[in-house]
Amino acid sequence: MCPREIVVNEHKLDPILRSDRLPHIWCPGCGLGPAMACFANAIQESGIPVDEHVCVSGIGCTGRVAGYLNVDSFHTTHGRAIPFATGLKLSNPDLHVTVFSGDGDLFAIGGNHMLHAARRNVDLTVICVNNFNYGMTGGQLGPTTPYAAKTTTTPYGNPDGPLNIPHLAAALGAVFVARWTVLHVRQLQKAIAFALQKKGFTFVEVLSPCPIGFGRPNDLGDGLEEMSFYRRQSVVDDQAPLDSLEIDMSKDSTLVLGNFVDRERPVYQPMGTEPPAHRDRSVIYQPADPEVKAREAL
């Protein structure tokens, strides 16, 4: 068969992408392209007018997503995307604000903001691309780097344990928590579209290959090979215990995916002159076993 140039004059995502900024800066085999495409598709699927969408990013490879999306987009400082987004959302509640950033930006330098935005249940969607390392700076240890993994700053193997991100997000009070990989584009897009439509602090973790920074030193092969690894080793289990979701990334380890949490909590409203209308009853202790009370009385 003769090689043939394929010319595509238009694409259904053209209105959502800044085509004058493409091609993007990401490495061959990087998962950020499909992750961004899933988000762009989800914006269209969500039914929310594109002009109401705002994307806020922090710093890093994933931080560059905001610059490629043709919505009002803000590429802020390292770790501060969530509080910047909080200011936008609270000052104009009509906006649909999504924070699209990386694991290091959101959970290391920006971890405190994740904690408090989720606690308040600010109406934001946070998409966290987890590539297990700091890619932009050339493959250093991040907060999700698996135990014993090699990076340029853990040449003898990572002595830290990784954060279990969905477990943390759920514990902090996120009303929707999901994890997918960039191989699972249908499920990922659906999860993001759901998160965009759901009120409150919604969170989607996206596992993504970083063949240059993380794949190479950890024998995961190129981008395609890591995608094969995702296909081979993934298990979809929405009911998986949240504390079992830690990621190891060793050849025979399991990647648990799914939409783990979907619940209701009162959405953050800025303080008015009247006391808040309702409080979150789901967090108040109620003994499952009525005998607990009796024991306590003794």
């Binding site: 803000f74 802020t76 400082t77 501060r80 200011g87 936008l88 000052s91 405190n112 408090h116």
Partner: protein, 398 residues
């Protein structure tokens, strides 16, 4: 908006008010509708006042998790079209520096109040100092325009906060109110005028509903591009990276030099409009006190004492520390004036005075913790007058 709600923005009348409270009322009068903050002595009363006041007018008060988050939320809110602010003191001001730079490069107007206390580090949480003045100018990395007002009374806490919002919108950049603990915590008369008497500089907006061919960071010759609002269909991209006139990242030397020169150039361009000083008996002065904030109150008292002794002393009070009135200092130096600069730091604004005067000056310094007494300042002036002119004097108060 009902007339009643309107009234709650501006508390017209005579008040006996704490400086921090007056600052908060200045923000209300200026139409501030978003405060993101974190409590820190001696600025906390600003947050407390706005927590009560903003909900009365449908504004947003949010206590963020730290000062990093506070300033980030303030920048975000500004892009919705809101006038937004935060208030802090030294340690919090240090934490805010990175995003003050983001505000400068993305041209995001907002107001940051620093009620100065003794530093470095935790220093003197409850006691006065003026040691963040150079940080106000150079605190964030890179070259950027810095505007800083120095209130010297509760009345000025009100007035200069209003002015800070106007200057922020005029230049499209973060503006600082560099108060100090003595001013923040003193209580005196504050007169709040009618709403109609409060000046309001409108933020420059794009003409059309879409950018209409106009590039978001194209400065149309005025140094300040019009600022779109998020959610209005402009599809803007705003980045802390060096960017071209489309707002797109362009990290090359030529674009960087052009952008940074325009940003920094705002200060030179608008300096004649922004610089504010109060001149006290400078006409025949041979010695000029250059003072600001709480120290200028002691300097004013010293000046009266010295005039009674028949000594030709005047005062140049800095209302804007940045931009600095260097030309006025140069004029006075040319006339043969000597300068005495009392300040509650080890000589910060004194550097600017010396640099512009091209001569040695007398510095009167204390690291902070106590306001300077008029007698100490008067003595520094007397010594300056009796000493050989080529000698530089640096005095410490114990």
């Amino acid at each position: 908006m009902s007339e009643n709600e309107e009234d709650r923005h501006v508390l017209t009348g005579r008040h006996f008010m704490n400086g921090d409270t007056a600052c908060a009322e200045g923000a209300m009068a200026a139409g501030c509708s978003f405060f993101g903050g974190y409590p820190i002595t001696p600025s906390t009363e600003i947050a407390e006042r706005l927590a009560r006041r903003l909900p009365e007018v449908g504004g947003v008060y949010i206590q963020m998790e730290d000062e990093l988050a506070s300033i980030a939320s303030v920048l975000g809110a500004s892009w919705t079209g809101a006038r937004s602010m935060t208030a802090t003191s030294g340690p919090g001001f240090s934490l805010m520096q990175e995003n003050i730079g983001l505000g400068a490069i993305t041209e995001t107007p907002c107001v940051i109040v620093n009620v100065q206390r003794g530093g470095p580090s935790t220093g003197l949480p409850t006691l006065v100092s003026q040691a963040d003045m150079m940080q106000a100018r150079w605190g964030s990395h890179g070259d950027y325009p810095a505007v800083a007002y120095c209130p010297a009374s509760c009345q000025e806490m009100f007035e200069l906060t209003v002015l800070a919002f106007n200057t922020a919108d005029l230049l499209r950049t973060p503006v600082l109110v560099m108060a100090d603990e003595a001013i923040g915590h003193m209580t005196e008369r504050v007169v709040i005028p009618d709403k109609s008497a409060i000046e309001h500089v409108a933020r420059k907006r794009p003409h059309a509903s879409a950018m209409d061919g106009q590039l978001p960071y194209e400065s149309d010759g005025s140094m300040v591009p019009p600022m779109p609002r998020a959610g209005r269909g402009y599809r803007i991209h705003v980045t802390g990276l060096t960017h071209d006139e489309r707002g797109y990242p362009a990290t090359d030397a030529a674009t960087h030099d052009k952008l940074v020169r325009r940003l920094a150039g705002k200060l030179t361009h608008f300096a004649p409009e922004i610089i504010k000083v109060e001149e006290v008996q400078l006409e025949d002065a041979e010695v000029v006190l250059v003072a600001y904030g709480s120290t200028s109150r002691s300097a004013r008292h010293a000046l009266t004492m010295l005039r009674e002794e028949g000594l030709p002393v005047g005062m140049l009070r800095l209302i804007t520390a940045w931009p600095f009135p260097g030309d006025r200092i140069a004029q006075l130096a040319e006339r043969g004036c000597q300068f005495v600069v009392p300040e509650l730091n080890l000589g910060q604004m004194a550097l600017e005075v010396e640099r512009n005067a091209h001569q040695s000056i007398t510095r009167l310094n204390h690291a902070g913790g106590i306001t300077m007494s008029p007698e100490q300042i008067a003595e520094a002036v007397r010594e300056t007058m009796s000493c050989a002119r080529e000698k530089s004097w640096s005095m410490s108060i114990s």
